[in-house]
Symmetry: C2
Subunit: 197 residues, 2 copies
């Protein structure tokens, strides 16, 4: 069986990206990376704050998103989304938890060879993405990733575990981390233009 | 200048490990990995729950450990460590925060070549370490890492942000995640013996 080439995989990935689109904060970066022959992007997220409903056992596999924001949020928005979720679904019998999670930007880049992967990693590190790594050795997939992350439980079994003052503090910190991570996206875009590529 | 060989680097790493030792939960794994010619371990942690004091700006670079446990903890231990820290240091003027952080096990393995790195990654994934990756392309350093992680703020400026009931819940969850991650260490050890190496 003929192996699918890098160029064919790139063509498919670009078609998929054109169909699905990407977050506004990250689209310029994807376009810049995809304009370079030896790279293409396979998936990405510009960084977000989410509310996740998790079964009591703590398995994120069966988790369900209550809300997703790719921007800073207010405590009122968070409390409102939690209220809505409780009102609509109530307690489903199984004792569920709601967690607020802040996730940094993540970009997966397929690279033509090991040398290209090294170049992409160098630029990612130089832009502050300290958790960047080579995810797949088979297809030289570089994961561009930074460190800003929070995982905070807020509710259990349909009741708040903490005060709204605490939610305000957590939201403040989550926004701070999200903004810091988003600034790194700007550095990454600059370095992708001025870098050694 | 002569390049230092894999064997020389391994010798140095084993000497360092003999001097510094390692966590009880992980030592058997390190010994097994180091018994295989084409691998050696460079650093590791068996998973832990820590209390970290962080300057207001949120920079972990200037963070200071208040307490570290490589085992499940009780809420009383956590509250006691926070109390102690506040009593001894008080508020230093700058508005500091205390966070409880649960971190999964992490092992860095230097591999002789790309093929060995692929084998080690395969075993890591099969043992449940889903965030494993190739950290350094220069020296083929595989990072064995799983997903269990919590980062929860508890105090600000010398005052608790939440109730002791909330601390109890957070500790319960942190212990659950730590135990789950530690079980993966057992699977990893088994797979290192029965695997394809």
């Amino acid at each position: 069986m003929r192996m699918i080439t890098f160029e064919e995989r790139k063509k498919r990935a670009l078609k998929r990206l054109a169909e699905t689109g990407a977050d506004a904060d990250i689209i310029e970066i994807l376009e810049r990376i995809n304009s370079i022959e030896k790279f293409f992007t396979t998936s990405s997220c510009s960084g977000r704050i989410v509310l996740l409903k998790i079964p009591h056992a703590g398995s994120k596999r069966e988790a369900k998103f209550i809300a997703k924001w790719h921007r800073p949020v207010s405590a009122a928005e968070v409390l409102h989304a939690i209220d809505d979720s409780m009102r609509v679904e109530g307690c489903t019998g199984e004792c569920e938890e709601i967690w607020l999670i802040e996730q940094p930007p993540i970009i997966h880049v397929a690279c033509r060879d090991m040398r290209s992967a090294e170049e992409m990693l160098k630029i990612a590190y130089a832009s502050g993405f300290k958790y960047s790594n080579l995810k797949s050795l088979k297809h030289f997939i570089v994961e561009i990733l930074s460190t800003e992350r929070m995982d905070v439980p807020l509710c259990e079994c349909g009741r708040m575990l903490c005060t709204s003052e605490y939610v305000e503090f957590v939201v403040l910190r989550a926004n701070f981390l999200l903004n810091r991570a988003k600034k790194k996206l700007k550095r990454l875009l600059e370095n992708l233009w001025t870098g050694i590529l």
